[in-house]
Symmetry: C2
Subunit: 353 residues, 2 copies
């Protein structure tokens, strides 16, 4: 069942055609393409002219079969619509593109079985390596299996095994920055708003929050899960400002949560940056456009993508390198959504709580 038209496969210009036209052998023409220094300038120009003349198109498929290299990298992302992953992807693409490689992009939708299927598909396509942001609940054995297959692999953002390269963020440091900032402004009742699937980055942020609160002598018990859909997050806002868990500030799992809570607090008639403080995480482009502007811990997804891509290129070069870790330091961007605690909202201290 040939999907393509017959005409396509016919009269295709091959290297042999080029070689004949230029009056050299197939082997020489091949050397010219690969920019080998072995050929004389004279024949090189002759062959290049022939290629242009005949409209020759290099056939990577054939080359890959023989040379076992496809100039193709598989990128597995759990989510395409979150701007964070998009920026990550942009970073990956920038570096790989510059290296003449091409990205095969797939979306695991955070489903492990789907991820498994996609990884097989990539192997079948003969990718030279894979950049993987593991789906939630990915088991360590997956990565071990891939190492066994000798398929170069870089984990990004989430980590399931230490036997393999990883590019990510120092989430604990980011949380410390957020908490220290709010504590410095006088806040004592600081909540943490979470959502999304559970994975290493999720856990690291929670742990980071707890440690940072503990270090400040504050109660880290106020950790609340909010819905995943952005519109629904707004409706969860009352959880933070009323009842026993009332707080004066929230550290958000990411900017999506911050945006949602910001909307919800607005609906409650509260003014962010006056009645309540909000700190986002990731600092995606919209944080700067929010009003009031969102204080956020920048994690530089594009830079992480670039780092991951570079790790992979290095590994392709030297497959026997020991596993490396690239842990980016985040950076707090202070804007208008976080301000001094003025006590006007009423509060709950660790002792009184």
């Amino acid at each position: 069942m040939p999907i393509l038209s017959e005409s396509r496969k016919k009269n295709r210009v091959t290297l042999l055609d080029v070689a004949r036209y230029a009056g050299v052998s197939r082997a020489t023409a091949s050397l010219v393409i690969r920019k080998s220094p072995l050929v004389s300038t004279e024949t090189r120009t002759k062959v290049e002219a022939a290629m242009k003349e005949l409209g020759y198109v290099y056939n990577m498929g054939a080359a890959r079969l023989r040379a076992d290299r496809s100039l193709t990298i598989g990128v597995v992302i759990p989510n395409l619509v979150n701007p964070f992953f998009t920026e990550l992807l942009a970073g990956i693409d920038r570096i790989l593109d510059a290296a003449g490689m091409v990205v095969i992009l797939v979306n695991s939708r955070d489903l492990v079985t789907r991820q498994e299927m996609l990884l097989t598909r990539m192997r079948e396509h003969g990718v030279d390596g894979i950049i993987l942001c593991p789906a939630a609940e990915t088991e360590m054995s997956l990565v071990e299996r891939m190492v066994e297959w000798e398929l170069p692999l870089v984990q990004v953002l989430r980590r399931v095994s230490d036997d393999c390269d990883y590019a990510g963020v120092d989430y604990a440091l980011g949380m410390r920055q957020a908490v220290d900032h709010l504590a410095g402004l006088g806040h004592r009742d600081i909540a943490f708003a979470l959502h999304g699937p559970v994975h290493s980055a999720y856990q690291e942020r929670i742990d980071g929050f707890r440690e940072a609160m503990d270090a400040r002598g504050l109660d880290p018990g106020n950790i609340i899960r909010v819905p995943n859909q952005i519109a629904a997050i707004a409706e969860a806002a009352p959880l933070f400002v009323s009842g026993t868990s009332r707080s004066s500030a929230v550290v958000c799992f990411n900017d999506v949560v911050a945006l949602g809570l910001s909307a919800g607090l607005y609906d409650l008639g509260m003014t962010i940056g006056r009645d309540f403080s909000l700190v986002g995480f990731d600092d995606v482009a919209d944080a700067e456009a929010m009003r009031p502007r969102l204080t956020s811990v920048a994690t530089f997804p594009e830079a992480i993508g670039e780092g991951a891509a570079r790790l992979l290129l290095d590994r392709l070069d030297k497959p026997d390198l020991a596993p490396r870790k690239l842990v980016n330091a985040p950076q707090l961007h202070i804007r208008q959504s976080s301000t001094f605690w003025q006590g006007s909202v009423g509060g709950r201290t660790k002792n009184a709580g």
Copy 2:
């Protein structure tokens, strides 16, 4: 210069190994893989067992060389960080993935020469077809050349040639919806805020705005270009509310512009949905999360992506189909950012202007 380790290419399990192990010929094993009905159930199970036993991985590269089909589609996008394109991509991916195909994603960054290079690269990789959102200022000849190459092509969102499939949006209708809505609310001085590179969708939106205003007897002269960076858009807000071009409502080129202007108007102390009306375009996920909620013309990027992918699959099936157009009707989502004109801002009518 072999990039890959020696060990990788050695001891790879091939179809021949599988065949030998199962006690059949290479040809039969090939038939089993391709799920041909020609083989008996008995040998099928035998071969499948052998594949599992040996850990066989199908080599698409080799198959493609012979069969001239790669199950690979090139997708060329001008911008990776705009959420609109991401949703589009998600739609494309959903359909192609279900068809067992894989996306090779590249980013033209709206540069024609880069786009040219990338298209060549895709051809070299032997993609079965291409979904292209043409970079600004792409010439018609590009598409014609691709048709000549017999490389199945679908244009998406932007159109440079009628000789080729296209999936997009009825921008004129969307503009009419936006303008009619605002006019119905009593607004007479309606501006249009533009940005970004110039392409067919850009032009169609402008034309649509003009026609819709004309049809209502309103002056469509107030078309203003704002910066491209979202943070800078906010600073352009004064252009709309002061000076001779003062208006009471703005139709925005897309939601990014709307978000930026919303921030800028906030900075000027104005309240959207009371002092001023704003209508966005595209209705990406954040529109629902803005406060006040953004009235926006939904263009359903994910559906467009799905449509484009389906057009391409159809064309792979029947290369000689006449070029088709899939023009989605947008849909106005009325929320809080647009309200009755209360005359409190002062105004300028067509006659008075």
